[in-house]
Amino acid sequence: MPPRMPIESGVPDPFQYMHPIMVRNYGAWKHHERPRPGVLCHTSKNGEQIWTIRAGTQRQMDVYTIRKLCDIADQYAEGYVRFTIRSNIEFMVSQESKVAPLIDKLTQEGFPVGGTGPSVSMIAHTQGWLHCDIPGTDASGVVKALMDELYEEFIREDMPNRVHITTSCCQINCGGQGDIAINIQHTKPPKINHDLVANVCERPSVVARCPVAAIRPALVNGKPSLEVDEKKCICCGACYPPCPPMQINDPEHSKLAIWVGGNHSNARSKPSFQKLVAAGIPNNPPRWPEAAAIVKKILRVYKEDARDWERLSDWVARIGWPRFFELTELPFTKFHIDNWRGARRSLNASTHIRF
């Protein structure tokens, strides 16, 4: 028998799985309100309404958890759900009377209802030790530990504006930009297993991968291998994925760094990338208390000092970086001053100084 060939169907048509009210009013929505944290109410131009109840999940779920969510959707909602980009699940219902019982049931089953408006939503994250081939930490674990601590901020809406947090297990930063990002930051050059390099790595492409041209081909113990100019190396780990014998992860020296002010929305200011504020934080499983303490401190200060609707980046733009470091009590070091290409853009070429 010839082998079965794939049906190259691509992205499935969503209408077959969409709540009928959403199908009927596709492209015809008028406005929305947030009657309480975790709930959205959209009204269409045709006068129809739909209530959305948003709940947090652990993202990678066992089939029992997923089926429990389906049971809840069938019994308390209308059998239609969707997921947000931050792995929150949304239940859509056509009647307001269904909202409260659904919230009660979700809460009772351990799914926090929230993540809407000016709250701290679920942390967007990468995979980590459970599945990735290059991870320096376990983003899933960091997220669980942090969301336990930020639970109240998820189920309430009392931040100045929404807060998106991300975590990433390596400097490739698959978790993406965030108001606050917790990422691995290596501090030592790769340790090379010279016996394996020739067999495992395509040496020219590894050489090409290094952003600072620190890698060169070399003969080590008579075998073709690679060597790293450790003075040049910025410990980015870019060489590790194409060449696993160049081990960058280090139980002691792979640290966490915290970045703030990433914002993809165009609202008010143009989108911005996150900036380094703290590094050298221990990668300390299973609950990463040192990283959690810094994140909570930043959130506390932001909540106290920012004005309504200011994202973290808007707030810092108003108060200035010196004040940010003063308020958060984080040390300002030489590492905060950029020296990568285009860095002059980030220097203060004016006498604009707050006293």
Binding site: G79, G110, P286
Partner: protein, 419 residues
């Protein structure tokens, strides 16, 4: 009786606390008597605990795929299989979700059944790539799992140097700010490049992301090689009665502090009678005022999209935002969609031919200059593509007159087309 669970003192500490625990979920699978995945999940927990204890990962890649495709499965082989043999293979299938991530429970239950039968019982909704991640199966089961999902209407996503799985926001399905038919844009683009997705042969990855408005909920400017963002050209809509209600409910000061003075281009003014004046020619469609006054303000009627290209994270030259390539185009007729598809085709073709190995579109543009890229894909220069003109005089301008002539000709053509 199954083999005993490994001791997991560190993972156990991730079971307490109010947030749902992925460890509790994995343990549920590891204690699922008689299920084919049980031994795998027992050893998976063992290996994960080992990672927590030693602060290192123990997975390596390899080559595993399905017949007919060159990518889409993430192979994982354990480096500590001698200690944890049952999870020595733990491959992931990236499966593309319905656009906008809509599901009904019947579908989700079916997905669970497939993964209970062929995999680990662990599914992530969704990975950062935008795929449903069916996490963990053996080399032998990859094909059978895929076949069943594929028969249900689901296809593998992208991995490696390929067109990747895209994402589109909920958009028109449930958001009044939507200016585009997001799911149609996503399906038009991604489904046109399935060959480039399933048979990775590009210099590096290429991602499409689609957001219905400049709030850019899909993070497309920062994360997509080609970002499509809905916008509008005519005046925003103002319901003055709702403006007045909002002002009386929230106070003048609140409106001035949180709406008027936050407009980046000072395009708003609160009139003495508490109605709102909008300078639409200077509104840059940032969305702020519309986000705050959801009932009073809304997007205009003459909708279309802005296309930005070149967004990506650090590797290798540093973070790059996508930049404007098409300031505005309508997206209504089939011809409009064909034009968008043509732009994507020209871009990917140019990328395939001109990017260096492992270079993203943004890095290529940085290396060759935006103008060379625009000429390559046949797009004319436009002042909306820049924040400001060049500051440096190091440029040859000997063909200035010809270039100026092109601009005037184009302007004349546009004017003729408009009348």
């Amino acid at each position: 009786m199954s083999k005993p669970l490994h001791n997991t003192p560190m993972l156990d500490q991730l079971e307490g606390g109010p947030w749902p625990s992925f460890i509790t979920g994995i343990k549920r699978l590891a204690t699922d008597e008689g299920k084919s995945y049980q031994p795998m999940m027992i050893d998976l927990l063992g290996q994960l605990e080992h990672s927590y204890q030693t602060r290192k990962g123990y997975w390596k890649g390899g080559t595993i795929g399905v017949i007919g495709y060159g990518g889409g499965v993430i192979p994982r082989f354990s480096e500590v299989a001698s200690q944890f043999p049952a999870s020595k293979e733990f491959h992931t299938l990236r499966i593309q979700p319905p656009a906008g991530m809509h599901y009904n429970t019947a579908l989700i239950r079916q997905l669970c059944d497939v993964w209970e039968k062929h995999g680990s019982g662990l599914i992530a909704f969704h990975g950062q790539s935008g795929d449903i991640m069916f996490q963990g199966t053996t080399s032998d089961n990859v094909q059978s799992a895929f076949d069943e999902l594929n028969e249900m209407g689901f296809d593998l996503g992208g991995a490696g140097p390929a067109v990747r799985t895209g994402m589109s926001c909920v958009g028109a399905a449930r958001c009044e700010q939507s200016c585009a038919n997001e799911q149609k844009v996503l399906r038009t683009l991604v489904n046109n490049f399935l060959d480039d997705m399933h048979r990775p042969a590009l210099p590096y990855k290429f991602k499409f992301k689609v957001s219905g408005c400049p709030n850019d909920c899909m993070n497309s400017i920062e994360r997509a090689d080609m970002a499509i963002i809905g916008t509008w050209r005519d005046d925003m809509k103002v319901d003055q009665a709702e403006v007045k209600t909002f002002v009386s409910k929230k106070s003048r000061k609140y409106v001035i502090d949180n709406v008027i003075s936050r407009c980046p281009t000072h395009a708003l003014s609160l009139n003495d009678d508490d109605s709102l004046a909008v300078d639409n020619r200077n509104c840059v469609r940032c969305m702020h005022c519309i986000n705050v006054m959801t009932k009073a303000l809304s997007v205009g009627d003459d909708k279309g999209i802005t296309v930005l290209m070149g967004g990506k994270r650090t590797l290798k030259i540093g973070d790059l935002m996508g930049t404007v390539i098409i300031p505005f185009m309508k997206l209504e007729t089939q011809a409009d969609y064909d034009r968008l598809r043509g732009i994507a085709e020209a871009t990917i073709e140019f990328f395939a031919e001109n990017a260096l190995e492992h270079e993203r579109t943004g890095e290529m543009i940085e290396r060759i200059g935006l103008v060379n890229f625009l000429e390559g894909i046949g797009v004319d220069v436009d002042p909306n593509m820049i924040s400001e003109p060049r500051q440096c005089s190091y440029v040859r301008t000997d063909t200035w007159d010809e270039e100026a002539e092109k601009w005037f000709t184009r302007k004349a053509e546009q004017q003729a087309a408009a009348t």
